[in-house]
């Protein structure tokens, strides 16, 4: 199989490393060669962060370039817009509608663009937008936004739910498992 590309984008501290870890585990369990590339260090301090997940028969580059992402999974709306040029022409965006003001917006040096979901759709990109924060809170913790998003992403994958659940079990602490399973279901079914 040709290599498939998933980008996970968001704001440093939102939990994208857990999402990529879980995806890496899941795809390896399905027999794929997998590479996951992360950002550590300074950018993690509230900056724009991106994680690349690539899988297929044989994966070479650890990164994804412009026009190559089959999926962009975004934790924050502005970040979906920022990374849009990396989406493949027939690629799919799955985004949280949560908005987090970056420092230039906070200080008044820039404005947060309005109606971004509509603008993203108007470019012709396929966009699936949902309020993951509310769903995560419904599941029991605002921190479960990452799992809500993965639940949503699972829509687009032809993988048995059992495989997703196994990867969830392997990557989240046992005491939070039920809450995360609920978050996954809420993401999948809303």
């Amino acid at each position: 199989m040709n290599t498939k590309n998933i980008m996970i984008v968001g704001v440093g501290g939102q939990g994208s490393l857990l999402a990529s870890k879980l995806l890496g585990h899941l795809l390896m369990s399905q027999g794929y060669d997998v590479k996951v590339s992360e950002v550590h260090g300074m950018s993690q301090r509230g900056g724009s962060v991106v994680t690349y997940v690539r899988y297929g028969d044989k994966v070479f580059s650890p990164v994804i370039d412009k026009g190559q992402a089959d999926y962009i999974v975004s934790f924050e709306l502005l970040e979906a817009a920022r990374w849009l040029p990396f989406l493949k022409k027939d690629g799919q965006i799955v985004t949280n509608t949560q908005q987090i003001d970056p420092m230039p917006v906070i200080t008044g040096a820039a404005e947060y663009p309005d109606n971004l979901v509509e603008k993203l759709k108007a470019t012709g990109a396929k966009v699936d937008a949902l309020d993951c924060l509310t769903l995560a809170e419904q599941a029991g913790s605002a921190k479960a936004v990452n799992i809500v998003l993965l639940g949503r992403l699972s829509h687009y994958f032809d993988l048995p739910e059992e495989a997703w659940m196994k990867s969830l079990e392997a990557n989240v602490p046992a005491k939070f498992l039920d809450m995360n399973k609920k978050a996954f279901e809420l993401g999948k079914n809303n």
Binding site: M28, V39, G41, V59, S61, K66, L84, D101, P102
Partner: protein
């Protein structure tokens, strides 16, 4: 589909740690630095390996050398700039060689994701005449680490294992093996290990002979391999560049992949060149392989096609070779940047606000607090390298005298101070400049992800350890004026800063408050803004807290971010924060 049953997905740095475990390494000493930190952190999870954080890279390397001398395989890791600090022992360890194998990770950061420069560590390998090997994914990271110990012992040399951000911080599949611990008796050998001129003079020719043998090894070793494909184009490459080349070209070109980048082979390269029509070198940063190939008298294209600056990617290489890249989408809106910021509740914020308010010239250092240079605080005016703030302040004050003494300060973190600030402080005490040094003590090494250091009282495993008392240390070095402030208390910060800048004596201010992200730190409940009171004056916006924004002309607090540090409420003229 592959059978992944016996495989694990592993971060490159973790794969090196696994390699260290399997190679029977017994001693590891490192100083953290992105992108090298996780090697030592992951290795510390194996109870069989003694691991520690040293105060700096030089001490770490010397300690690892001692362990090798005593007869056990040893290791140290650092980022590229860390190797500059440890260059002194490295260059002479090249002469002494080792007893048990010794491997040194140096992790480069092309693209400067988390670094102050983009230097190419291969220069250190060449200059110190120490072999360097470079994995291109996690599987190679594990295998090459083990092989590095064999090379180290076979050729009696330390070995540099060069990582880069994209290998260190990418996960890929590995197969793990068992641990075996070799033991080498320690034997006194003054001629080999005491590098005074008479002995060193005899060691230098041994180093040159070793390089000759290593070149022979490089001609046939498993680290360097030819992958013949189409012969129109032949590409010599290494590290992560190999992955981009394969991504773009697959088997349509021939590739010479060099896993050992110092010393470089000669016959192997000439032989490869003779089998292809046109020869290229694809390497990040400096043209090191390219210059070697040119010195062999071959015609090759490298840096005329590919940049010296920044990291590579598949599209960059595709475009350089005239291949098409994929189309994509574009938005017409301007997307505001999202630079990294100090976290909500960061103890550095109150201090930098105070420095800005007093119109200080701030010479900064390396750590999270470097973000004090970013708007709206914009307080730091210089950052160079670990420890430089204090040395630079001394020189600045010596030439500007009274003009600068009353308004110029150095700001350095607790870990950075332990790393290389103490010697700068000794210089201020000894050569007597009227300098004010601020140690921002957040009780942890923050930027690299919370590593312990000699001031925290805990070791790498989180167990109690020796604890250096900063106040006592500064006093012992001759500073009569050592003040401690709480950076959450703006009034106290302001008063103490003014006093110490005004006094005609060198002084140290310790701004002490643990990092807000530390697990043991208890937070106050989030604040809220009483919108009936808020007059929209934006006084609270001057501290650049990510939890505060203006909505409809009124300050608003994001209660998922706010940790109740109360710095903003001290700025509010109408008491709107509750």
């Amino acid at each position: 589909m592959n059978d992944n049953k016996d495989k694990q997905i592993m971060l490159g740095n973790k794969a090196v740690a696994r390699g260290l475990y399997e190679a029977g390494v017994c001693f590891i000493s490192s100083y953290p630095g992105t992108p090298s930190t996780e090697v030592t952190e992951e290795a510390a999870k194996y109870d069989e390996i003694y691991c520690e954080w040293a105060p700096n890279e030089k001490v770490a390397m010397e300690s690892a050398f001692g362990a090798s001398l005593a007869g056990r395989r040893s290791f140290c890791a650092q980022k590229h700039v860390g190797l500059n600090v440890a260059a002194d022992p490295l260059y002479t360890m090249s002469y002494t060689g080792v007893n048990a194998g010794m491997v040194i990770v140096v992790a480069d950061d092309a693209g400067m994701h988390s670094s102050q420069n983009e230097q190419d560590s291969r220069h250190h390998a060449i200059a110190s005449k120490v072999p360097m090997i470079e994995p291109s994914d996690s599987e190679e990271a594990l295998e090459y680490t083990k092989l590095a110990y064999e090379i180290s012992e076979k050729f009696d040399t330390p070995v540099l294992l060069k990582m880069c951000t994209r290998v260190a911080h990418s996960q890929s599949l590995v197969t793990v093996g068992e641990r075996q611990v070799p033991d080498f008796p320690y034997e006194k050998d003054i001629a080999k290990y005491v590098m005074m001129p008479g002995n060193a003079k005899k060691r230098h020719p041994i180093v040159e002979e070793r390089t000759r043998k290593l070149i022979e090894y490089a001609e046939n070793c498993p680290l360097n391999r030819v992958e013949m494909g189409g012969t129109e184009i032949g590409i010599i490459t290494c590290s992560t560049s190999y992955q981009y080349v394969k991504e773009v070209f697959g088997d349509s070109v021939s590739v010479l992949k060099l896993g050992m980048t110092n010393p470089l082979p000669e016959k192997l390269i000439k032989d490869f060149a003779s089998k292809v029509d046109k020869l290229f070198v694809v390497e990040e940063l400096d043209p090191i392989i390219e210059n070697h190939v040119k010195a062999l008298g071959l015609t090759v294209t490298g840096k005329e096609l590919l940049p010296v600056c920044d990291e590579f990617s598949q599209n960059l290489i595709a475009k350089a070779f005239g291949k098409d890249t994929a189309d994509s989408f574009a938005l017409s809106d301007n997307i505001p940047m999202r630079p990294p910021v100090m976290c909500a509740g960061c103890p550095h914020r109150g201090l930098f606000y105070t420095l800005k308010k007093n119109n200080c010239t701030v010479l900064g250092d390396i750590g999270c607090y470097t973000l004090g240079a970013v708007p709206p605080l914009g307080a730091i005016e210089m950052t160079l390298c670990m420890g430089a703030s204090i040395g630079a302040l001394h020189g600045f004050n010596k030439v500007r005298g009274k003009e600068s003494e009353g308004k110029t300060v150095a700001v350095i973190g607790d870990s950075t101070f332990m790393h290389s600030g103490m010697t700068g402080l000794a210089n201020v005490a000894y050569n007597q400049s009227n300098s004010t040094i601020i140690i921002v003590d957040n009780s942890i090494t923050g930027m690299t992800g919370h590593q312990q250091n000699p001031t925290t009282g805990y070791n790498i495993k989180g167990d109690p350890a020796g604890k250096i008392d900063l106040e006592a240390l500064c006093k012992a070095m001759g500073f009569e004026r050592v003040r401690v402030v709480d950076p959450y208390n703006l009034k106290q910060c302001d008063e103490v800063l003014k006093e110490e800048l005004a006094v005609a004596a060198p002084s140290v201010i310790i701004s002490r408050r643990p990092c807000a992200l530390l697990k043991y730190v208890k937070h106050n409940p989030p604040l809220t803004v009483n919108h009936d009171k808020c007059v929209g004056c934006k006084s609270c916006m001057k501290i650049g807290c990510p939890a505060i924004s203006m909505k409809n002309g009124k300050a608003t607090i994001d209660n998922t971010l706010c940790v109740g540090c109360n710095v903003c409420s001290q700025l509010c003229p109408v008491g709107a924060f509750v």
